[in-house]
């Protein structure tokens, strides 16, 4: 079985400051991990994906995430927040098993302060 926990339901940062959205996972198998973003009244868009090729994954719009197996974490970061980053972010875990489902975290809403 697998699960994913997003440690913060809301994060507020000032424009131009770093962003950190935290995600911890558990999985019986070597997982694939994803971050998706949802802007208001929109569908979800893939930000980045980890599949064991490299522990530091770069995504779109300047975001990146680091896979840390020892900490079972996959935190999302961005060096400098922009107003357009205000959205809800979902951490997702998936494992290569017929019976395992793709599991979404409950989401972190990112607020950008001017």
């Amino acid at each position: 079985a697998q699960s994913v926990t997003q440690l913060d339901s809301h994060v507020s940062v000032s424009e131009g400051t770093p962003v950190l959205l935290r995600c911890n996972y558990s999985s019986s198998y070597s997982p694939s991990l994803f971050w998706y973003v949802q802007h208001p009244n929109k569908g979800l868009q893939l930000l980045l994906k980890y599949t064991s090729a490299a522990t530091l994954v770069k995504g779109i719009n300047g975001f990146e995430a680091e896979f840390k197996k020892s900490e079972t974490s996959f935190h999302l970061t961005k060096p400098s927040a922009h107003m357009s980053d205000a959205a809800e972010y979902f951490c997702v875990v998936s494992a290569p098993s017929r019976d395992d489902k793709i599991i979404f975290g409950k989401g972190t809403r990112l607020h950008i302060l001017p």
């Binding site: 979800l44 599949t51 997702v92 489902k101 793709i102």
Partner: protein
């Protein structure tokens, strides 16, 4: 953007009535999913399909059924709608299943369903 169309985009219905939501894709992807999104719960999987006439239950399947008679269409039916099924419903597609090389979900724009 991936070719995924959900219909209707908005639906208001009464308790006890049947409702069918449609997801149509033009990508010829094998896997299709229905999720519901509720505040504080993220996205929860209702049902998914790994091919024509091949479907399976997700974590919140009670009260829902699905059908996939063609690769491009995945229908979600609420047999007798209840107020607890008021939600935003998202369809997603993927070329590969879990762990596959091309595993990546593409989402539709969602259907806002209100059950009064």
């Amino acid at each position: 953007d991936a070719g995924i169309t959900q219909s209707p985009r908005h639906k208001v219905t009464e308790t006890g009535t049947p409702v069918t939501l449609r997801c149509h894709q033009t990508e010829n992807h094998r896997y299709m999913y229905w999720y519901r999104q509720d505040p504080g719960h993220g996205l929860r999987l209702i049902h998914y399909s790994y091919g024509v006439k091949d479907t399976d239950k997700g974590e919140v399947s009670d009260g829902y059924s699905v059908s996939r008679s063609k690769t491009e269409d995945f229908l979600l039916t609420l047999e007798s709608a209840t107020s607890s099924q008021t939600s935003v419903y998202f369809c997603a597609i993927s070329e590969s299943g879990t762990g596959g090389t091309n595993e990546k979900l593409f989402f539709g724009s969602g259907t806002q369903l209100s059950v009064l």
